[in-house]
């Protein structure tokens, strides 16, 4: 099966901010988290994918169609939830549903009703009158049931309470199991990333750090506690050091080097995903 998303050498300059070059491929059946510091370009990348802004160079293909081309069929295969829903304020949840649902061939009314019921979303109130949390719940209730092959979620859990977050994770996992689908999710919430992601696409200040398989990434990083303080200027694979601690993203090379130099370590451990992301996003990396 062909990839859902193919981003090739995409660059975008906005004032002093430079995004890219970005290369990213999204295969069916995967969940990719866009991870990055604030202002790293995650939302911009999603907007470029939705053709809400033009790229300076490179190309974005969704479902084998260039998003900036004349063919617009790709729009039917994508559901996009932006951070802030613009233009929704004057509509009630019910009216929004009447507006949005007919536009999607595979709209799942049952799922919509289930989410509304579980999150206790008041459908008769204007969107602007809802709390930020309820707005986000309604947005999700109006996005996930669209049942498009690709779901783009920009910070979907930023305002959700803990039970709602847990429930959303379950809904998304269940949703993924129902067919050839993919999710791209921009999030700062480590629990979302841990629970959902197959891949982590890391951006730092607009620069693409890489697209990593989650499991491979957690296996790749190791921390070593050494017997004595290090005097070596540099160790292969080293990404961080603090007196007797060394963190490596190439453990085999690091261990080989330490053994060769007769440097013994008393303990070693894997890193949390949060620590790995922190290291990846560290400006001194």
């Amino acid at each position: 099966m062909k990839p859902f998303v193919e981003i090739t050498q995409v660059k975008k300059k906005i004032d002093n901010f430079h995004l890219g070059p970005i290369n990213l491929t999204i295969e069916p059946g995967t969940i990719t988290s866009l991870v990055g510091n604030n202002g790293s370009g995650k939302s911009t990348l999603m907007k470029l994918m939705m053709n809400l802004a033009n790229t300076d160079s490179g190309s974005i293909n969704l479902f084998n169609q260039n998003v900036s081309g004349d063919e617009e069929q790709w729009k039917s295969f994508v559901s996009y939830q932006s951070q802030k829903m613009i233009g929704w304020d004057a509509f009630t949840g019910e009216n929004l549903k009447c507006f949005i649902a007919p536009l999607y061939e595979h709209w799942d009314e049952q799922l919509f009703q289930r989410i509304v019921e579980h999150f206790a979303i008041p459908l008769n109130q204007r969107f602007s009158k809802l709390s930020q949390g309820s707005q986000q719940k309604l947005t999700l209730a109006l996005t996930i049931p669209r049942n498009t092959p690709l779901l783009l979620l920009d910070e979907p859990t930023a305002y959700l309470d803990i039970p709602a977050k847990t429930h959303l994770m379950d809904i998304l996992v269940e949703w993924m199991d129902q067919g050839e689908r993919s999710i791209i999710i921009a999030s700062h919430q480590i629990e979302d990333i841990k629970k959902l992601s197959d891949y982590l696409f890391v951006l730092r200040n607009g620069e693409m750090i890489g697209n990593f398989e989650k499991e491979a990434l957690t296996e790749r990083y190791k921390r070593y506690w050494l017997r004595s303080e290090l005097t070596e200027s540099s160790i292969p694979g080293e990404v961080f050091r603090d007196r007797v601690q060394v963190v490596s993203n190439h453990p085999k090379e690091t261990e080989h080097y330490l053994q060769e130099k007769g440097l013994q370590w008393t303990n070693q451990s894997s890193l949390d995903l949060e620590e790995i992301i922190t290291l990846l996003l560290s400006p001194t990396r």
Binding site: I86, G87, D89
Partner: protein, 239 residues
């Protein structure tokens, strides 16, 4: 045809959501019109510059004012100003052509009923218009409805937005105010007649010709403004 059908459905669904607001503002504006035409002698002895401005503002800009706030151009982020409704539509699986058409239809839901009522009020309340005769009045109505298209369709075109800062805002406002003032002054100075009065006269003297020219101009506006909006939406970064 399919595009028009979907565009009508979109505009209609959006309009239904604001129908209460529309009825309220429409009634308010109607009251305002009656007061202006019944108590202010703006057409007595030919229109004055103030009368012209008053009529043009009511005719062209009131339909925009009676539209709900959400469809007005406003700050979206940074220096991007656009209509929130327009942004909403862009994030849904709707073809660009359909979005563009729906904006003009939505505007027309507000402009044409209002403008027709205004022209009817004009007929009822002002003797100068009432005495024109039916064919001349019909030409007059066509002239103004055409203006509503080839000039008034600028308003839904602006839904697409622009990059606006205080310099461009000041510059463009000044430009349009000066241009409008210059055109109106020119009419009064050169032709010794107000603009609205001039349209009454050409409708009386050349009803067929003025109607045909107006329809042609309206056709130009009908094709030009949607293209302009589509160009804007393809050019602008909604970030």
């Amino acid at each position: 045809m399919k595009e028009w059908k979907q565009a009508f459905w979109l505009a209609g669904t959006e309009w239904k959501n604001f129908s209460k607001h529309a009825v309220f503002t429409y009634t308010l504006c109607l009251l305002y019109i009656v007061i202006v035409f019944a108590f202010l002698p703006i057409f007595e002895g030919g229109t004055t510059i103030v009368g012209d401005i008053l009529f043009i503002v009511i005719f062209l800009l009131f339909p925009a004012w009676i539209k709900p706030k959400e469809s007005h151009v406003q700050k979206i982020s940074g220096e991007i100003w656009a209509s929130p409704s327009f942004i909403m539509l862009q994030q849904l699986p709707i073809r660009k052509n359909v979005i563009v058409k729906s904006r003009f239809i939505f505007h027309s839901f507000y402009s044409f009923p209002f403008q027709l009522t205004l022209l009817l009020c004009l007929y009822i309340l002002t003797p100068e218009v009432r005495n024109m005769g039916f064919s001349a009045y019909l030409a007059f109505v066509i002239i103004w409805l055409a203006i509503s298209i080839y000039i008034g369709f600028f308003l839904p075109t602006s839904d697409g937005g622009d990059i606006i800062n205080w310099k461009t805002l000041l510059g463009s406002s000044l430009f349009f105010i000066l241009l409008g003032a210059a055109i109106l002054t020119l009419f009064h100075a050169v032709l010794d007649v107000g603009f609205v009065e001039w349209t009454i006269r050409i409708a009386q003297e050349f009803p067929l010709l003025s109607a045909i020219v107006s329809i042609l101009l309206a056709a130009c506006g009908f094709f030009y403004w949607p293209r302009s909006l589509k160009k804007t939406m393809e050019k602008l970064d909604y970030l």
